[in-house]
Amino acid sequence: MLKVEQIETFYGSSQALFGVSLKVRAGEVVTLLGRNGMGKSTTIKSIMGLTQVTRGRITFNDIEIHHLPSYQVARQGLGLVPEGRQIFPNLTVLENIMVGAANRGGREEPYTLDEVLEIFPRLAERLKNYGNQLSGGEQQMLAVVRALMTTPKLLILDEATEGLAPLVRKEIWYGLSVLKARGQSILVIDKNLDALMKLADRHYVMERGAVVWSGETDELADNEELKARYLGV
């Protein structure tokens, strides 16, 4: 589904990614792991067309997307839940949910409003509130729901539960497990290794702008040296 091949990305003259490669197959949940500043968010921004890729190739369902502007990448079927949530504060919750729904280019069976609100029912009570009137947890749920309404073939979450209270994190992980059960492909960044290992099928570990390890959940669980060296666990 998503194939990232040897991409290099620069911020000005400073190189951030050094030949990153990864794959996400249909129906898979894949994680990007690593300490802060290792290039995980830059990889996601590069996939989404928010940062220019200098070298390498990104394809999504065999279509080259690395030269496309972000709105065309999104219309190919990639839905982003960005770091910091980036809810539109001047739109109501309902408007935030619906604003991207017109640009559906993804799955054959689009999510409906009722379906996405079933995953995070707390939002159903806040539809008329403005985005900036929500708690951090509600904003994160809204960011997931907003991305889902674009009916993505691949949902990408950058720091899925960062800065959230434990109970809210639980709700987010539950929501993601519901999506996985429905066959939703997911690429996720987070620091909560336990939750990620319960949810994900495969993992990529990044260090200084490059992928240094990739493997399945069982392999990661058994590799204490890797976790200690690159993930600080």
């Binding site: 928010l50 972000s70 709105y71 999104a74 980036q86 539109f88 001047n90 674009t150």
Partner: protein
């Protein structure tokens, strides 16, 4: 009392004309972060195109129907050719470039239409007057201008609050990058917003055509008032532009009408008229200063 009501209506008419101008300018600044000094040029283009088509065809409505798309298309071309290169530049670059556009359009109109002003007649079906209140006949054309301005305000309100494109425009104004990541074509949206802004400026120019002389540079005088309106209303806020435009229209009109009489109460007539004219011309700037002291972001700032 009759004079007061008549001046209130005059203030309302100036206010809605300023609203048509300021709605477009504040939209462009609020959403695209571009200071467009050439906004007055589209007011002038609208007036010139309408005056020419009306003179050739004898139909004011045809003049209006041609002028609106013409200003919108010219606006979108200017956005695509000139302004698109300025989005990531400093505001001073935008000011210089759009000031250059003012000179370009002023010279272009002189080349095409000459140095003599054009005069548009009020359409015959709007040339009479209507007694809104018994004993106060008021020109039908000015009532039509007020009506058009209020309809545009209603249209903009409904467009922004009830339509998907309005929602997308507000999302793009709040976070351009995120809107793009949700599949919204921001570049196209900007072009459409700019086209809408210039269309509204063109509409203001058409409506002002039969009241003022249509001449090169006519956009600059109203542009200053327009900037005062959007500063008072809150930059980027269409609701603020509406309130600000009505306030400026009223204060300017009532000041010019009643300050001479007020000053004559304690000054000689000759002195009173001179002082009143000076104070009246300063009144909207005094109003702006007072409002900015009270609310530095303007009355209804965007995203509040």
């Amino acid at each position: 009392m009759l004079l007061f009501i008549e001046q209130i209506l005059n203030g309302l008419q100036l206010g809605v004309t300023l609203f048509l101008m300021s709605a477009g300018l504040t939209l462009v600044f609020g959403i695209m972060q571009v200071i467009n000094l050439a906004h007055g040029s589209f007011y002038m283009i609208g007036a010139y195109v309408a005056a020419t088509v009306t003179a050739l065809s004898g139909s004011f409505l045809l003049g209006l129907a041609v002028a609106l798309p013409a200003t919108a298309v010219i606006g979108m071309l200017v956005e695509a050719i000139v302004l698109r290169r300025l989005y990531k530049k400093e505001h001073v670059d935008q000011v210089l470039a759009t000031f250059g556009l003012i000179m370009f359009f002023n010279e272009l109109t002189r080349i095409i239409w000459g140095r003599q002003p054009l005069f548009m007649d009020v359409p015959s079906w709007l040339s009479g007057s209507v007694e809104l209140i018994p004993g106060i006949p008021y020109p039908s054309y000015r009532i039509a201008v007020i009506g058009v301005g209020l309809l545009v305000a209603l249209f903009l309100y409904l467009m922004f609050t009830r339509t998907r494109i309005g929602m997308q425009i507000r999302a793009g104004a709040s976070n351009r990058e995120m809107a793009g990541a949700l599949g919204i074509n921001i570049r196209l949206l900007y072009t459409l917003v700019f086209g809408l802004g210039t269309l509204l400026a063109g509409l203001a120019g058409v409506m002002a055509g039969p009241i003022l002389a249509v001449e090169a540079g006519m956009g600059e005088s109203i542009l200053i008032l327009t900037f005062v309106v959007i500063v008072i209303g809150g930059i980027g806020s269409v609701r603020g532009a509406f309130i600000g435009a009505l306030l400026v229209g009223m204060v300017d009109t009532l000041g010019r009408a009643f300050l001479p009489a007020l000053f004559r109460m304690f000054l000689s007539s000759a002195h009173a008229d001179g002082v009143a004219a000076s104070v009246a011309s300063m009144s909207i700037y005094i109003l702006m200063a007072i409002i900015l002291i009270w609310r530095p972001q303007g009355l209804l700032p965007a995203h509040s």
